[in-house]
């Protein structure tokens, strides 16, 4: 395949530089950031990511418009690959770069959002003591995420997957002296790690049946129904479920952990303990979509197993609804955004779940990727906007806010754009992608469609609840004494992203990204859009009625729905359930007995051996009195005994 395309030497190098430049930033800042280049560390890291982003755009332009297509179909190109670790013939971890529409799209998304966050943080974290450390972690994160999206080998993806996990751990724990941040970063790491266990075992099963770890070969072998690999993977079964389905379900668990889907979502809201730009980068725009990306990457294989896809769809829709309900009740603005992220990821997931492979059936796939793209833009914008608000107010709580539109005009406008986009109001970006998702759901599964419709209405409601609570509501609060909006470095990303959030919907996404590489003609039915838009507007007006002016209507409603409200406010007690399982069951019923067993039984046996030896020797040491005369008696007795034996017994 390499021979068909001539990219010239520069493409290979340029591609390699995209992930390696942020890595360089990590290494340089990690090693020398504390002393040598403390002052310019932010600028240094930002310029590296800027180059990286430029190269990504260049690659995307080249791929989509110049060399990516062969006979009207986007190809999977692997310009760089080398064997990293050979396990057995055919099975090896290869490090490589795989270019196909989704990875190229992700390259653009990741570098773009990362660049925005880099620029934004220049102002947001100015004067922090660990400023260089922050930028080095951002570099590590960007590197890992880029490595993940271009992975040509499933194990390569797992490697970067773990690196993404650890960089998020480091970034969430950036304020290391706050106990809540420490708890949050541990929780994020452990929950995703638990999910990764599923991913790992899934990889093991897939590699065993496919006999390879390479994505292209693996997909080829497991999607062609006549190959021996496919036959053995579907024939082998455990507990009545085929090995293929097991593998995919396990891989999906990994994806669900990283993407914070129900019931592995518990880490995401807590992860808001990190600096706000980090939340924008990791927990909104890039890292959490890794799970979606994983399913999308293996989508051809997923489409061979209907039960696995069903699971994806239902976990997706449950997460979407569940998170939307919780988001309506939270008062910490970052938590609202976190749950809205979870809800949107749920949308992407079920879009994948309802999708088929190839042609018109692949609408869900395209829609999910499209929504991933637009969501990255407006969610990053929302978080960065929330960051600006928090920077101004020094609080995350809605009750401390209100009437901020006068003090933060740019933030206000951009935030409004983002809210309109996420609520699916035309012509903003979210409208188009959400329409496609709903259409895909409508064509496939009525239950999912109706839940999705309700959820999109809820989305509009809670987003505007947030918007009105921050920028309208109480007017009286005076913040005159506070500093301004945060300067050019903070405003530039907001403006750029709001342009994206407003306009990205007009990209003919189906032409570029589809399940089979061929352009997908998206059919646009205006009649179909009536219901979602109406629901969205209803949500917005309800929020306006409740929250635009200070009043007690919302409290009254909350009171009348007290049971449901309380349940949602306490996040349906999932956290408590986890705490119960880990603290009470794992620690008390497994950890403690293991430690006790070791201390008392295993160690006790060893000590008992020692002690019994001591005891016996204590008993017999009297023989060894050290008295010559006693020895002589024994000696004499022995001689006499032997003499008797020889003379009388043995003759």
């Amino acid at each position: 395949m390499l021979g068909v395309f001539s990219f010239g030497i520069d493409l290979g190098w340029a591609l390699l530089m995209i992930p390696l430049l942020p890595l360089l930033g990590f290494l340089v800042l990690g090693l020398f950031g504390r002393k040598q280049i403390k002052q310019s560390s932010g600028i240094f890291a930002t310029s590296l990511v800027l180059v990286s982003a430029f190269l990504s755009f260049h690659t995307a332009y080249g791929y989509f418009f110049k060399y990516g297509k062969l006979e009207g179909v986007y190809q999977k190109i692997i310009p760089i690959q080398f064997t990293w670790l050979q396990f057995s013939p055919g099975v090896s971890i290869d490090m490589g770069i795989l270019l196909d529409p989704i990875s190229v799209m992700m390259l653009v998304v990741v570098t773009l959002i990362s660049l925005m966050v880099h620029i934004y943080s220049l102002a947001y974290l100015k004067g922090e003591e660990r400023f260089p450390t922050y930028y080095s972690f951002l570099g590590l994160f960007t590197f890992s995420m880029l490595g993940l999206v271009v992975a040509s080998n499933i194990f390569q993806m797992y490697i970067f997957w773990e690196l993404v996990g650890v960089s998020s751990f480091l970034l969430i724990g950036y304020y290391y002296d706050r106990p809540s941040a420490v708890a949050a970063c541990k929780k994020a790491f452990i929950v995703t790690r638990f999910a990764d266990l599923g991913f790992l075992i899934g990889i093991l099963i897939l590699s065993f049946y496919a006999g390879t770890l390479d994505f292209n070969t693996l997909i080829l072998k497991l999607t062609t129904t006549s190959t021996p690999e496919f036959l053995s993977a579907t024939a082998a079964s455990f507990m009545g479920i085929s090995a293929l389905t097991w593998a995919l379900v396990l891989v999906f668990i990994g994806g669900a952990g990283k993407s914070a889907l129900f019931p592995l979502h518990v880490w995401l809201p807590d992860a808001m303990e990190g600096p706000t730009p980090v939340s924008a980068l990791i927990h909104a725009a890039t890292m959490v979509v890794a799970g979606v990306f994983l399913v999308a990457r293996l989508f051809p294989v997923f489409s061979m197993s209907a039960p696995a896809l069903e699971l994806v769809a239902f976990v997706g829709i449950i997460s979407a609804l569940f998170a939307a309900l919780i988001a309506c009740t939270q008062t910490d603005i970052k938590r609202v955004l976190a749950y809205s992220t979870m809800s949107q990821i749920g949308f992407m997931m079920f879009a994948l779940g309802v999708s088929g492979s190839g042609g018109e059936n692949g609408l869900g796939f395209t829609a999910a990727m499209f929504h991933l793209f637009t969501h990255a833009l407006f969610k990053a914008l929302l978080f960065l906007g929330a960051g600006a608000v928090i920077h101004f107010i020094h609080s995350n709580e809605m009750k401390d806010m209100g009437g901020l539109r006068k003090y933060l005009p740019i933030t206000h406008i951009t935030f409004l754009i983002a809210c309109l986009a996420i609520s699916g109001v035309p012509p903003f970006a979210g409208f188009f992608s959400k329409e496609e998702i709903l259409l895909a759901a409508y064509q496939h599964n009525a239950t999912i469609y109706w839940i999705a419709l309700i959820t999109s209405g809820l989305t509009a409601f809670y987003m505007f609840r947030l918007y009105f609570s921050i920028f309208w509501n109480k007017e009286s609060l005076a913040h005159e004494s506070a500093h301004g909006e945060g300067g050019f470095a903070m405003m530039l990303p907001l403006v750029l992203l709001s342009v994206g959030a407003a306009a990205a919907g007009f990209i003919p996404f189906g032409d570029f990204v589809s399940s089979d590489g061929k352009p997908l003609e998206s059919v646009f039915h205006w009649q179909f859009s009536i219901a979602p838009i109406a629901l969205g507007l209803a949500g917005i007006f309800t929020a306006m009625w409740l929250y635009k002016k200070q009043n007690n209507r919302s409290d009254t409603i909350a009171h009348s729905l007290s049971g449901l409200y309380k349940l949602a406010f306490h996040k349906f007690y999932v956290d408590e359930l986890y705490l119960f399982i880990t603290k009470k069951i794992i620690f008390n019923l497994v950890g403690r007995p293991a430690a006790w067993f070791d201390k008392n039984v295993v160690n006790g046996l060893v000590n008992a051996t020692g002690n019994s030896t001591l005891f016996i020797s204590e008993k017999i040491k009297g023989f060894q009195s050290g008295k010559v005369q006693q020895y002589a008696i024994y000696f004499l007795a022995g001689v006499i005994g032997l003499a008797i034996l020889f003379i009388y017994v043995w003759k």
């Binding site: 040491k621 060894q624 009195s625 050290g626 008295k627 010559v628 005369q629 002589a632 008696i633 004499l636």
Partner: protein, 104 residues
């Protein structure tokens, strides 16, 4: 008057041997214990000489052995008395019960 034979001599040497052993086992004084060992050794000497005389009168092996034993007894006595003197110097006593420092 009966001519003393091998048996008589052996009875004397056996008596001497057990007197020596008894002394060695019961006495606490090192000098006495040394003397007891001398008794044991001399009873062996008597045996050698008696057997030589009565059993193989034409040979001298028994006599030679008894000379060896005497020589060794002398050497042993020299070493033992040296040890005893040293012990006396350090412990002001030559009682074996007191010399229990290396016990256990």
């Amino acid at each position: 008057m009966m001519e003393p034979g091998l048996y008589h001599v052996l009875i004397i040497s056996t008596a001497l041997f057990f007197i020596g052993v008894f002394g060695f086992l019961t006495r606490r004084n090192l000098i006495t214990m040394l003397m007891s060992i001398e008794l044991v050794l001399n009873s062996v000497n008597i045996n050698f000489i008696a057997f030589n005389k009565y059993a193989w009168p034409n040979k001298l092996d028994g006599l030679f052995f008894s000379i060896f034993v005497i020589a060794i007894a002398a050497a042993e006595a020299a070493v033992a008395i040296a040890i005893i003197i040293n012990l006396y110097r350090s412990h002001q006593s030559i009682d074996v019960e007191n010399a229990a420092d290396l016990k256990f």
